[in-house]
Symmetry: C2
Subunit: 495 residues, 2 copies
C-alpha cells in the first residue's frame, strides 16, 4: 500500500527533523563559537537530506498511487493532503538552493549574535544581503509552484490559510484602533509601585520552573535554559524552552517563560499517534503564537492569574520589605502597563502589533527589492517614528538588529505574532464561554480545565483540519478582530 | 573521477555522524528521561541512514572504479583504503540489524542509568541479554566478512591491527608482573597526608577548566560538563568532555578531566584537511586511550606536573590550613597510591590492567555463549576474587553494573584501555628521549613541546598509516611492554 510507504518514509525523515531541531537548540544554547562553521554545514546537509527524501522519485510514485487508494481514515486523508503540500513545496526548490540557504541562515544567525552585541550593523549587512537574495530566489520558486506571489509563498509556509488579504484587513483595523487606545491608556492607567531588585538569575529560574509546572509543563519531558533570544524547540517528548534574564527586572524573563510554556504545551499535546507525520505537526505558526499569547497575554497577565501567582512570585523574589509592591493588584498593574518602546519582545499587548506591522511592511519591501538592505536602518527609523513616535538614534542593537528572525532567514514570520494574538483572544473568549470552570481555575492555580480545552480544540488536532475550520469548530466563527478589541477594552478601559 | 565522488559521499555522511555524536552527548548530558524512547529511534535511524549511504550501489560502483584510478596522493590512497574497509564492514550487516542494535543499545544505556542508581541487576538483565544476542549476530556477520573470529571482529572495529594474539601476549605478561608489584607497592609506599574537603562542585569545575587550558584545550572549540560516566564526544571544532564530581574527594574528577582532555586534544588535533573523511579519523580506540592515558598517567600524575599544578590546585580548593597536604610532594603521593578496589575508573595504574583483564575474559565468555547473562554477577565476583582479592557482596552497582560499555553495546572495547596504557608509556618514553624540553616544560607549565610532538607523531596523522607503522615511526619499535614496565618500576619502586 503506497500510503503506508509514504508514512514510513515520513517517519524516517522525522528522525532527521529531530536531529535538526536538537542541533538548532544546541547551537543557540550550548555550542561554543568555534563550532559554528561546521555546525552550519551539518544543518545544511540535514536540510538537504530531508529535501532529497521528500522529492525522491519514490515519494512521487507513492503519492501518485496513494491518491487512488480508498479506505483511508480522516487522519490518513489529512496526512496525505499535508504530504502532497510538502511535496509540492519541496519539488519547487533545487537541492543546492536548500543547502545554500540553510547554511547562509545558520552562519548569518551566528554572526548576528556577535554583531548585535557590538551594535555592528556593518558587520552583519553583507550576510543579511546574501540571505535576502537567497530568500528572494526561494520565494519566487515556491510561489511559482503554489500559484502565489513570492511574499505570499513565504507567509503560506508558516501559516497556510492566512494570506496577505486577511493580514492587510486585520492590520488596517489595528492601525486605526491601537494608537488612540495606547494614548488613552498611557494617560490614564496608574503606575505600579516599583518592584525592587536585584533578582539573581537562579531565583528567577526557580520561579519560572515553578510556574511552568503549575501550567502543566512536564519536566520529565522538557527543560528550561538560557539563550540570546527566548524560544521553544526540541521534541514533543523533550520540549526545550529558553529565556534570558535581566537581574534588575524579573518581569521580561518571567513573561518570556510563560509565553514559551504556551508553545511547549502545544508541542507536548500534539496528537500522540501522529507525532512523526505531517498531519501531527502544529497547525502553522500563527496558531502556535496563539497558544503562547493565550498563555502569556490572556491568562498570565490577568487579574485572576496574578491573584494565584503573586505569593509564589514574592516567595522567590521578595526581600521581605515593600510588601505592597508584591500584592496581586500591583503585579497586575505592572503586567499591564502600556508604553511606547523600541523593543518588540518587551512591548505590551497594545503597542506590540505596531512593532509587527512595521516589520511586515519592511520585509515586503526588502524582498520586493524596493528597499536595499543597506537602507534598512533609515527605513526602520522612519517607521518607528510613524507608528511609535520613537527614534533609535543609531542604536541598531535595539533597532533593526534586535530580532533574530531576518538573520535566521525567517521572512514572512512576523505577521504570525499579531494574527496569533487576535486568534488567542478569540480562542480564550470561546473557552471561557464554553467552560465555566476555566477562569475560576486560573484564580486558584487549577489549570487542568484550560489545558483540557486547549488539548481538545487545538493541540490534539494537529493539522487534521485547516485553520479556518479549526477556529469555526472551537469558537463558532472564522478569524476576526472583535474578541481582541473586546479584550483590550475590557482590560485597559474597564469596559 | 570516482574517488572524488566517494570523498563527497563521505563528507555528506560525516554530517550525519556529527548529528549522531552531538545527540549522543546531549543524551548523556542534557536530555530529560522522557525523551529517551524517541531519541533512541532517532539515533537508530541516523545509524541506518549512514549505513545505507555506505552500502549503496553507487558507493560500490565508485569504489570499483576508484581502485583503478592513478595519480592519487598518499592521503587519498589511505583514505580509499579506509573507505574500502568501511564498505566491507557495512555490507556485512543488514540494515535492519544495524537499526535494531543501535536502538537496543541506546535504550539499554538509558535503562542502565536508572538500574545502576538502584543497584537493580534484575531491572537491566533483560535489556543486556537482548543486546548480547544482537551483538553475537553482529559479530558473526562482521567476522565472516573480515575473515575473523566473531570476537576478533569486534576488537578489529575499535583497534585494527591489535588482535587477540597481541592482547593475549601482553595480558599474559601483565598477569604475572602486576600482582606482585602491587603487593610490594602497597606494603612500602608512604601514605599521603589527608586532603580535607568538602570541595564544592563549582570549584572543582573551575580547577578542571584552568588545567585544561594549560594543557592546550581550546574553549572556543569545546566544553566541560557533567555526566554519569566521564567521556569525550562532539566534533574537532566543538569537543565536549564530561566528568562527575564527588564533593568529598576532588582527585577522581580532576583526573577524569585530565584523562578526557587527552582524548580531546587528539580530536582537536586531527588532520585539518581530512576531518570529514575516514583517513582523518583517530587511529583506533587503543591509540585514543594512549592519548588520554599519556596525559593522565604519564604526564599529570608525575612529580613534574604536580610541581606545576600544586599551587593551582591549592588556590582553587585549599582552605588555608593543612598547608603541607597541598604541597606537590604530598599530591604526588596521593596521585600514586596503589590499592585493590572494586571500581575500574578509580583504579591506580598498577591494578587497572587487572580490571581490564577481568572484563576481557568475561566478555569473550558472554559472546561465545559460555556465560549466560544471568550468571554474570557470580562470574564477576569469582574473577574479582582471583585478580584483586575482593568480593562485591551483591554490590552490583560497583560490580558488573559499574561501567556503561556493555550496556551501550561496546563489547571488545575494554582491552583498548590497557593496550593504550602500554602504548602511552612507549610513546611518552620516545617523546622525552627525542625532545629534551618536554619534561622540563611540564614542570613549569609549558606544554607546547609535548603537544607539538603529539600533533606531529599521532594527532595529525589520522589514519594515514596503520598502528604498527605509527608506533615504529614515532618510537622506533612495534608495540611492546618494556616501556610500561620501566615506567611502573621507576615511579613505584624508584628504579
Amino acid at each position: 500500500m503506497s500510503y503506508r510507504q509514504l508514512e514510513d518514509r515520513y517517519r524516517e525523515l522525522a528522525q532527521l527533523e529531530h536531529a535538526s531541531d536538537m542541533l538548532q537548540w544546541d547551537e543557540a544554547v550550548m555550542m561554543p563559537r568555534g563550532g559554528g562553521a561546521r555546525r552550519a554545514e551539518a544543518m545544511a546537509t540535514l536540510s538537504t537530506l530531508i529535501h532529497r527524501g521528500v522529492t525522491s522519485a519514490e515519494t512521487g510514485a507513492w503519492l501518485e498511487r496513494a491518491r487512488q487508494e480508498s479506505g483511508l481514515t480522516a487522519w490518513q486523508r489529512a496526512n496525505l493532503r499535508e504530504i502532497e503540500l510538502d511535496y509540492q513545496r519541496a519539488t519547487a526548490l533545487p537541492e543546492a538552493l536548500v543547502h545554500r540557504r540553510r547554511r547562509a541562515a545558520t552562519l548569518c544567525e551566528q554572526a548576528w549574535r556577535v554583531a548585535r552585541e557590538n551594535n555592528d550593523w556593518n558587520g552583519i549587512r553583507g550576510a543579511l544581503t546574501e540571505l535576502v537574495a537567497l530568500t528572494q530566489e526561494f520565494a519566487a520558486r515556491l510561489g511559482e509552484a503554489r500559484g502565489l506571489e513570492p511574499y505570499d509563498a513565504l507567509l503560506d509556509q508558516y501559516q497556510p490559510g492566512v494570506g496577505r488579504a486577511e493580514i492587510d484587513a486585520l492590520f488596517g483595523e489595528l492601525k486605526s484602533f491601537l494608537p488612540p487606545l495606547a494614548e488613552r491608556v498611557m494617560a490614564t492607567r496608574p503606575k505600579p509601585l516599583p518592584l525592587p531588585g536585584p533578582f539573581p538569575q537562579a531565583r528567577q529560574a526557580a520561579l519560572g520552573r515553578e510556574l511552568m509546572r503549575h501550567l502543566g509543563f512536564d519536566f520529565e519531558r522538557g527543560r528550561l535554559d538560557v539563550s540570546h533570544h527566548p524560544f521553544c524547540g526540541g521534541d514533543p517528548h523533550d520540549t526545550r524552552i529558553t529565556t534570558r534574564y535581566d537581574e534588575a527586572n524579573f518581569l521580561p524573563a518571567m513573561m518570556a517563560v510563560l509565553h514559551e510554556t504556551g508553545h511547549a504545551l502545544y508541542e507536548q499535546g500534539r496528537p500522540h499517534d501522529w507525532l512523526d507525520s505531517p498531519v501531527g505537526q502544529a497547525s502553522g505558526a500563527a496558531v502556535h503564537e496563539s497558544q503562547s499569547l493565550l498563555m502569556e497575554m490572556q491568562v498570565c497577565r490577568s487579574e485572576e492569574f496574578l491573584q494565584f501567582a503573586a505569593p509564589i512570585v514574592a516567595r522567590h523574589l521578595a526581600d521581605g520589605a515593600h510588601e505592597g509592591a508584591w500584592q496581586a493588584d500591583n503585579l497586575y498593574l505592572a503586567c499591564t502597563q502600556v508604553e511606547r518602546s523600541l523593543i518588540r519582545v518587551d512591548a505590551d499587548e497594545v503597542t506590540y502589533p505596531l512593532h509587527v506591522i512595521l516589520r511586515y511592511e519592511l520585509e515586503q519591501a526588502l524582498l520586493a527589492g524596493d528597499l536595499p538592505v543597506a537602507d534598512l536602518p533609515q527605513a526602520w527609523d522612519a517607521k518607528m517614528q510613524t507608528y511609535l513616535g520613537l527614534a533609535t538614534g543609531g542604536d541598531h542593537k535595539n533597532g533593526c538588529m534586535q530580532d533574530v528572525h531576518w538573520y535566521a532567514g525567517l521572512f514572512g514570520y512576523f505577521p504570525c505574532y499579531t494574527v496569533g494574538a487576535v486568534m488567542a483572544a478569540q480562542l480564550f473568549a470561546a473557552a471561557r464561554q464554553r467552560r465555566g470552570d476555566i477562569v475560576a481555575g486560573i484564580a486558584c492555580g487549577e489549570f487542568a480545565p484550560l489545558l483540557s480545552w486547549l488539548r481538545d480544540n487545538v493541540h490534539g488536532r494537529g493539522r487534521l483540519v485547516d485553520v479556518s475550520t479549526l477556529l469555526v469548530d472551537s469558537t463558532g466563527s472564522t478569524l476576526g478582530i472583535a474578541a481582541f478589541k473586546a479584550h483590550l477594552e475590557a482590560r485597559y478601559l474597564g469596559h
